[in-house]
């Protein structure tokens, strides 16, 4: 590990950023040394992504200076930053669906041979990188149709092949399971040993102890605290982030009632992503679904709620077969899906938060099909308040931080009075404070007698919230565990069976 006596490779001094009259960074100072991993932590909207985007030339700071390897540094565009040896994995997935994995990994810097692109070399190099990350897909495959987790791995491969001197990873593990995360950490260790400086942004605080050499905490656009070691109790970090003492993360969940609300019988996907899945969920029960990346959990819950077609099987609600063929039908029956990908499935990014919330709640804001903007705004304001979204109803969705977007997605769906709520990765990219708020909401739903299904790649989360846990492996139902039997080991055993 590098010592602090060496000059930093990157320094930020008094960096500020404003949008219009609104200042969101109030003068950030930051030093990164070669060969160290600095964890940048903070609540949603604290300004972490903004800092990393400024470093990488994606957006320009309003004022302040940067120094890169001793020289003044002000990248006018991403290309300049890349050429200087800076690499960034963006928080949001940004892959090109119709290009191959290899082309995505090397986008904009495709290896050349005289007169053309050296496709073979490119695919070999990409393949090697994929293997290191444990992604067993041909590099010549198109990105179109890859699962979110696999896309995230490709994105990571992209950053790792940059040969950067400084790498910024903005929530690289948000969509990853435990095994993938561990493989990423191995890569990070390797880079650190090679003297690469790394800024690591994550809301999974347990990871921090494993990777970080130093911790920087931000709150509301200010740097509030620095820890000179990664080995800081999670509780301390959290309190520094939120500026107050935190209670317990997971609340106590009520006992489910005996009546069955949802029954899934022998469901098979039309695409073969999962086969013959059956389970029941009772009133007031929180039903977790765990599994490795690509196990078919997302496909399953999409099929249950009519978003994807099925080949056979049925879905019953309160004893009546409903088997929805479209999301509209599912919603009409009182079953809602909070989708996994907020950018592609959850929000119309170019529209305001209020409109977005309105779209899923026409029956509340527009009785008899007659819309009043006032109703939409009021309704949205209430939902925003309830979920503690940082932002206003009139703001466009793409002006919000990733975590706040996720809260809006939840607000959009839970404003209903549903009988069944399906949450696919509900806390992806959400800070600890908001996370426990979401758990509170799940409890609230359960107490009202709603059947809740939670799909999550975060083992601790599934274990913390569920009454029962179904484990999926390669599209099969590997087993259902009761709360009392479930732990890391029993779940992993089933997931890899």
């Amino acid at each position: 590990m590098a010592t602090k006596t060496e000059p930093p490779i990157l320094s930020l001094r008094n960096i500020k950023k404003s949008y219009g009259s609104l200042e969101i960074l109030h003068g950030i100072d930051l030093d990164i040394h070669a060969g160290e991993v600095v964890a940048l932590l903070g609540e949603n909207g604290a300004g972490k992504s903004t800092v990393s985007n400024i470093i990488c030339g994606t957006i320009a700071p309003s004022s302040g200076t940067m120094t890169w390897q001793g020289a003044p540094f002000a990248p006018a565009n991403p290309r300049q930053a890349i050429d200087c040896g800076l690499g960034l994995i963006h928080q949001e997935l940004r892959l090109l669906p119709y290009l191959s994995i290899a082309e995505n990994v090397f986008v904009g810097r495709w290896p050349k041979k005289p007169g053309s692109i050296d496709r073979r070399l490119m695919e070999e190099m990409a393949q090697e990188q994929l293997q290191r990350l444990g992604l067993d897909l041909p590099a010549s495959r198109l990105v179109e149709g890859l699962s979110t987790a696999n896309q995230q791995l490709v994105e990571i491969a992209k950053a790792l092949t940059l040969n950067a001197r400084l790498l910024i990873l903005d929530e690289p593990t948000a969509a990853l399971g435990g095994a993938e995360t561990e493989r990423l950490f191995e890569q990070i260790d390797r880079l650190r040993a090679d003297g690469v400086g790394i800024i690591y942004i994550s809301h999974r605080l347990e990871e921090i102890r494993r990777v970080a050499d130093r911790i920087v905490v931000m709150r509301d656009g200010d740097k509030v605290q620095e820890f000179d070691s990664g080995d800081v109790p999670v509780r301390t970090i959290v309190e520094s982030m939120v500026g107050r003492e935190m209670g317990r993360m997971f609340p106590t969940f009520p006992q489910p009632r005996p009546e069955t609300v949802l029954e899934v019988k022998n469901l098979c996907s039309a695409t073969g992503a999962f086969e013959d899945v059956s389970f029941t969920v009772r009133r007031g029960e929180v039903f977790g679904i765990a599994g490795l990346v690509g196990a078919g959990r997302t496909d399953l819950v999409r099929a249950i709620t009519g978003a994807d077609p099925i080949r056979s099987g049925s879905v019953h609600l309160e004893g009546r077969e409903i088997t929805p063929r479209s999301p509209a039908e599912s919603i009409r029956h009182g079953m809602v899906l909070v989708p996994e990908d907020r950018k592609l499935q959850g929000l119309v990014l170019s529209h305001s938060i209020a409109e977005n919330i309105g779209y899923a709640n026409f029956q509340s804001v527009a009785p008899k099909g007659w819309v009043r903007q006032r109703n939409i705004n009021a309704f949205a304001d209430r939902a925003i308040g309830r979920f503690g979204v940082k932002g206003q109803g009139q703001q466009n969705a793409d002006e919000m931080s990733g975590g706040n977007q996720q809260k809006v997605v939840l607000a959009k769906w839970l404003a209903h009075d549903p009988k069944v709520v399906v949450l696919d990765e509900p806390t992806r990219g959400i800070d600890v404070g908001a996370r426990s708020a979401i758990y509170e909401i799940i409890v609230e739903l359960a107490e009202k007698g709603v059947a809740v299904i939670v799909v999550s790649s975060d083992l601790e989360e599934v274990l913390g919230v569920s009454n029962r846990i179904m484990v999926m492996a390669e599209g099969r139902e590997a087993g259902i565990l009761d709360r009392s039997q479930a732990n890391d080991v029993s779940i992993m055993e089933l997931a890899t069976s």
């Binding site: 978003a307 592609l344 499935q345 959850g346 990014l349 409109e355 779209y359 007659w370 006032r374």
Partner: protein, 324 residues
């Protein structure tokens, strides 16, 4: 209103009252253009000429409302001009050759037009043919059918009340056809602003997958939108027939470009999800005033083409630059 006023100064709230967002640039352009023409010609700023302009934009105006819906959901409709011709010919043939009553013939014409829209809609939603291609195909088919009805001949000899609908100015200013156009504008405006159907179009245009998962029946709405566009094209065909007191299969040739241009100049984005009727009305007026004004100025036809191109680019560039 309060919630909107929070958002910005008074100007913004007035603009959003009329859903003018994205069209204030073109509005300024329209006003400048009108001011210029009022000074440059004696005849532009006379009530008679302004009424003429209204007459002249009826067909474009009615079609542009349907096109606004289509473009809002991120689609495009190239068939409007041909469907207009088809509806005209069906009406003319039914009334003057087959001999049924003209009002009934109009209804039939609208039914045929709407049917064409249903077909394009189904091609798009159920057969996955991109809107550009399916409406291009319908453009060709409808034009061919319109021609086949009379082997390319025009039909004349309608009852005199028909033509009078486009001529008699009730209350000194409002012909039936212009009144119809206003009615279509207002209905379209209310639909987009105040109904769940209209709001759904914005959601679909913003991101169809998000809309679908939010429980909006995207397929049905899409078919509905193309049907409505075709229906309004049919209505525009009837209006044009009244104006010309005759029908011919060559009518409406290249109208699709004018119509799309009017909508886009009015600030509705071709990628869908933003825009509205108020902007479209401005777009239609810009095109109408521009043509009228250039004729009043006696600009030669070739120079007109150049000027029209430059003004259109400027009107849209002004809006885009303002946004920065």
């Amino acid at each position: 209103m309060t919630a909107i006023a929070k958002n910005g100064p008074m100007k913004a709230s007035v603009a959003s009252l009329f859903s003018l967002r994205g069209a204030t640039g073109p509005l300024v352009g329209l006003l400048l253009l009108s001011a210029f023409l009022s000074f440059a010609t004696d005849s532009f700023f006379t009530s008679r000429n302004l009424l003429n302009v209204l007459d002249q934009i009826t067909v474009l105006g009615i079609m542009a409302v349907g096109m606004t819906f289509v473009i809002l959901i991120g689609g495009i409709d190239l068939a409007v001009g041909s469907v207009l011709a088809l509806a005209m010919m069906v009406m003319g043939y039914m009334s003057n050759v087959v001999g049924i009553a003209l009002p009934l013939a109009m209804v039939l014409a609208l039914v045929v037009a709407a049917f064409a829209g249903v077909i394009t809609g189904l091609l798009i939603t159920n057969f996955g043919v991109p809107a550009f291609i399916s409406t291009l195909a319908m453009m060709s088919v409808a034009r061919g059918l319109a021609n086949m009805i009379t082997d390319g001949q025009q039909i004349v000899g309608f009852p005199s009340w028909f033509n009078l609908m486009a001529i008699v100015r009730h209350g000194g200013f409002l012909t039936v056809t212009v009144g119809l156009m206003f009615a279509v504008f207002i209905a379209g405006w209310i639909f987009l602003r105040n109904t769940t159907g209209g709001r759904s179009l914005y959601a679909i245009g913003g991101n169809p997958e998000v809309a679908r998962l939010a429980g909006i029946n995207v397929k049905l709405m899409t078919i509905g939108v193309y049907t409505m566009s075709a229906l309004l094209s049919g209505l525009a065909g009837i209006v044009l027939a009244a104006r010309l007191d005759s029908v011919q299969p060559s009518s409406g040739f290249t109208y699709e470009l004018d119509t799309i241009a009017a909508v886009v100049i009015g600030g509705t984005s071709l990628s869908g999800g933003t825009g509205g009727i108020a902007g479209t009305v401005i777009g239609v007026l810009i095109i109408g005033v521009l043509r009228n004004g250039l004729n009043l100025l006696g600009v030669s036809p070739f120079t007109q083409q150049v000027v029209i191109g430059v003004v259109i680019a400027m009107a849209v560039a002004a809006e885009a630059l303002k946004k920065r």
